[in-house]
Amino acid sequence: MVGIVTYGSYIPIYRIKSAEIARMWGDKPEHPEKGLNILEKSVPAYDEDAATIAVEALRNALRRKNIPGEKIGAIFVGSESHPYAVKPTASLIAEVIGAYRAHAADLEFACKAGTAAMQNVYAMVKAGMIEYGVAIGTDTSQGQPGDALDFSASAGGTAFIIGKDEVIAEINDTVSYVTDTPDFWRREGQRYPSHGGRFTGEPAYFKHIISAAKILMEKVGTKPEDYDYAVFHQPNGKFPYRVGKRLGFTKEQIKQGLLTPYIGNTYSGATPTGLSAILDVAKPGDRILAVSFGSGAGSDAFDITVTDEIENFNRDAAPKVWDMINRKKYIDYATYLKFRRMIVEVD
């Protein structure tokens, strides 16, 4: 049995309300609140980045179950906001946990780099190459100030340790669906991303998630009603319900893992952190469908079954996702600019 052995998440404590961003740019607060279903979003502190979030998420996973560094055979870190353009985040993670023999690399695929990391680790464990591996999705994403992404791009991350022994959630199968679709991009050297406006919905988000979910359910022989929970990539608080409805999932199946209304879109952290919120409450036998989406474009889908082992697992040893969502400090737009290093100083 190959699956999740332990997991942990991290969400920065700072929040900015959509109404505050709307006030700054002269938008009506109804636009983000009702139009996007985003009430507020997480903001990394001045001294946080995708690497510090990755470390905190992984430490939370290790608090729940300690796996010694020498047993970790792989570290893959998925992010679109790695602190360096050249110098891996994965090697920093390896140093922090003393995993000096790990296959380590950073992955990029817009918002699906975290699930791509999970697939890589899953494959290596399944092949018998490694005993345990770490997969992390982490981001501190930033939209152009005043753009629609300013309401959503946020910070957070989740780490999974995947292995064969004492698995709390078995990964039954995983598939992907990928096409060359230019819905969202950032050219090398550009500070902020560009996106194709309405083009981001139907041919990108919906097409890829629906395709990957259908391919997976057909492969494993499941129907939407076989799942207790479903988590879909969540660029806003509306798309996941809409894509779920089109696939045949109910709001009740989606609610626990839908975090965007309260923390925004954590990009590579989004689907992994939604899954983490589900694992926080899941019971043995619960079945979970998780489908990410990364612009450019592709989706990774996972069919997961929670095992009896979760009863012996120390979930309370680290903060749960909804506890971290509810623990918050509000900042204004000026502080947000300061934290995000967006103030231009002229010498």
Partner: protein
């Protein structure tokens, strides 16, 4: 700080790894090669020791000066943290306003950016402390 020194110290800065004297059991952070209490008896025998990262604020000060690299964080809190393992650690306290901090406050270590050498240089990571929310909410 120069890159080689930070690189040599990365293990204790990243993971709060100190040393423990096998003769008398005293834990040191930052790590020491010799136990000052046991002297020669401890030479070459000091063991690596991982601190739990938990602690309490023993003393603190609020820094208002515009120290290089802290312009965007001032006023900031520097504290001496008493750890259950013994060593007292000097570190920045973050995620909290100066008026909220108090002596005896339970804190725990987190991994943060410490300094960065301009926009093009190396980013140095290490420990800071935050309020131990789980402990405070008990």
């Amino acid at each position: 700080m120069v890159v080689p020194r930070f690189w040599r110290e990365r293990r204790h800065r990243y993971s709060l790894i100190g040393t423990r004297c096998p003769v008398c059991g005293t834990v040191y952070f930052p790590p020491r090669n010799v136990c000052p209490k046991c002297g020669r008896k401890s030479l070459g025998k000091m063991e690596e020791f991982q601190l739990s990262g938990k602690g309490k604020i023993y003393s603190y000060t609020i820094v208002h000066q515009n120290v290089l690299g802290y312009k965007y964080q001032k006023p900031y809190i520097m504290a001496i943290i008493e750890t259950p393992e013994g060593p007292k650690i000097t570190a920045q306290i973050v995620d909290i306003e100066p008026e909220e901090v108090h002596i005896g406050m339970p804190v725990r270590a987190v991994f943060r950016r410490i300094t960065e050498d301009g926009k093009a240089g190396i980013i140095q990571y290490g420990y800071k402390f935050v309020p131990d929310w789980e402990e405070l909410e008990k």
